[in-house]
């Protein structure tokens, strides 16, 4: 997985646990826990670069405010968690877990999302190639059929959440999965491509017409980034 945007050591480790590699796991288990602070990654393009699919105003708020809030809150709750661990306060540790999941998930999801989008001038919207393209065709028949299924999944989210193309780390198969709120793709599945279906991702431009956002977003999907995540 290409996670160069994730600067925090701890988070990189957390992301690596999604991959079935024992070396990455040892990185967490075998050392004294020294926390790196998560920081907001720079966008690899300008705020206005995804227009007209996603407006510059949305991108700026989404990145500089929403994503920043997840980062700030993650650091805050991580600090509290470290303190609770230090004091061996198991109740506090458990109480903090949903907050780490939510804000840590928000940081992970948005980091991957920025990376799997690109302006058309930087390859956004160009169809996948190679092994990932083959896997999509084998699973869904065609890229268009896949997009249609993916958009149906996006439209079916009840409330806030994400839809992901994921790879099953056990079978290698790809599938479309939706996740509530900021639940990140971890564990058995590896994130390949994610689309944010929270209202803040589209509302200023598309209001209640979310189907139009789901249709337009494919014009700026960075399949090259998705290919790098696919194994």
């Amino acid at each position: 997985m290409n996670s160069t945007l994730l600067r925090s050591t701890a988070l990189r480790s957390a992301l690596r646990t999604a991959a079935p590699k024992s070396a990455a796991r040892a990185g967490i288990a075998g050392t004294t826990f020294v926390r790196g602070k998560a920081t907001l990654p720079d966008l690899p393009y300008d705020y206005g670069a995804l227009e007209p699919a996603v407006s510059g105003q949305i991108m700026e708020l989404h990145h500089s405010k929403h994503h920043q809030t997840y980062v700030t809150s993650l650091n805050n709750f991580s600090e509290q968690l470290a303190e609770a661990q230090h004091k061996e306060d198991i109740q506090s540790q458990i109480a903090l877990q949903p907050l780490i999941n939510f804000h840590g998930g928000g940081h992970i999801n948005h980091t991957l999302f920025w990376e799997n989008l690109a302006p058309t001038s930087q390859g956004g919207g160009e169809p996948p190639s190679g092994q990932l393209s083959k896997a999509i065709n084998d699973s869904y028949g065609s890229l268009d059929a896949f997009k249609e299924k993916f958009n149906t999944a996006l439209a079916g989210i009840q409330g806030s959440g994400w839809a992901w193309l994921v790879q099953d780390t056990q079978t290698g198969n790809i599938q479309i999965k939706t996740y509530a709120n900021q639940d990140p793709v971890v564990g058995q599945f590896r994130p390949i491509l994610g689309i944010d279906a929270w209202e803040h991702a589209y509302y200023l431009q598309y209001q209640n017409r979310k189907a139009e956002y789901f249709k337009a977003i494919w014009e700026v999907v960075n399949w090259k980034a998705a290919e790098k995540r696919f194994q």
């Binding site: 708020l61 009840q158 709120n181 900021q182 929270w198 209202e199 509302y203 209640n208």
Partner: protein, 217 residues
């Protein structure tokens, strides 16, 4: 097979009546588009359900349940929400319009400010889409007040639970005006809470609180 068909209840005030606290643009989209969509999808799901009941297709009936809960919840929640809001200039928007409820709030939280702080904290703690409600709970021995949050469009339909007033924390309820500043929305919504409706729901029966739903079939 016939199924009930719900219709969009009229707002008891104009779209711009809650300004400056909630913009007319938000109110119009929220009522005429979002609420309408829940109703449209609910009616379609109820029709499919009636057919599945008629043909004794239990698997289809079960598969429809989550969609019915979500869309019916959206209809119920929004119907109650419009009624528990009022223009800030109205006397209904003052907590003095709910003397009995206020007495119980003070007995429960100490004072009105502490109650509001607890309610605001609950609203801001919602992860994702959802609602915050003040509810009345029948314990079997007495009636108590409680602040609860619900996810997505889950409605307050538990046994012995009556919704008093709710605040919509979906982003579509505030984003066009407040953007990521939801704390300001949570602050300003208090200017347009309809305390008269809240008092009526507090003093009335559970069925009374939901009578708007019967009226919009």
């Amino acid at each position: 097979m016939s199924a009930p068909s719900y219709t969009l209840p009229k707002l008891p005030y104009a779209y711009d009546a809650l300004e400056p606290h909630i913009s007319a643009q938000i109110m119009e989209l929220h009522h005429s588009k979002h609420h309408q969509t829940y109703i449209t999808n609910l009616n379609a799901a109820l029709k499919s359900q009636a057919e599945a009941v008629h043909t004794s297709d239990i698997t289809v009936q079960v598969s429809l349940q989550q969609g019915i809960k979500f869309n019916a919840g959206g209809h119920i929640n929004h119907s109650l929400f419009w009624q528990n809001l009022a223009p800030a200039s109205s006397s209904d928007a003052k907590s003095s319009a709910a003397p009995q409820l206020l007495k119980q709030i003070k007995a429960t939280w100490g004072d009105e400010d502490k109650f509001r702080d607890a309610f605001k904290a609950a609203l801001l703690g919602i992860q994702g889409s959802g609602w915050g409600w003040l509810i009345k709970v029948e314990t079997g021995k007495e009636e108590r007040l409680a602040i609860v949050t619900t996810k997505d469009q889950d409605p307050i339909v538990g046994k012995g639970e009556t919704p008093i007033f709710g605040v919509d924390m979906w982003e579509h309820a505030y984003y066009l005006q407040y953007l990521n500043g939801k704390a300001a929305y949570v602050e300003n919504i208090w200017n347009v809470i309809n305390w008269k409706t809240a008092e009526e729901r507090f003093l009335g029966s559970r069925a009374d609180a939901f009578k708007i739903l019967k009226a919009s079939i």
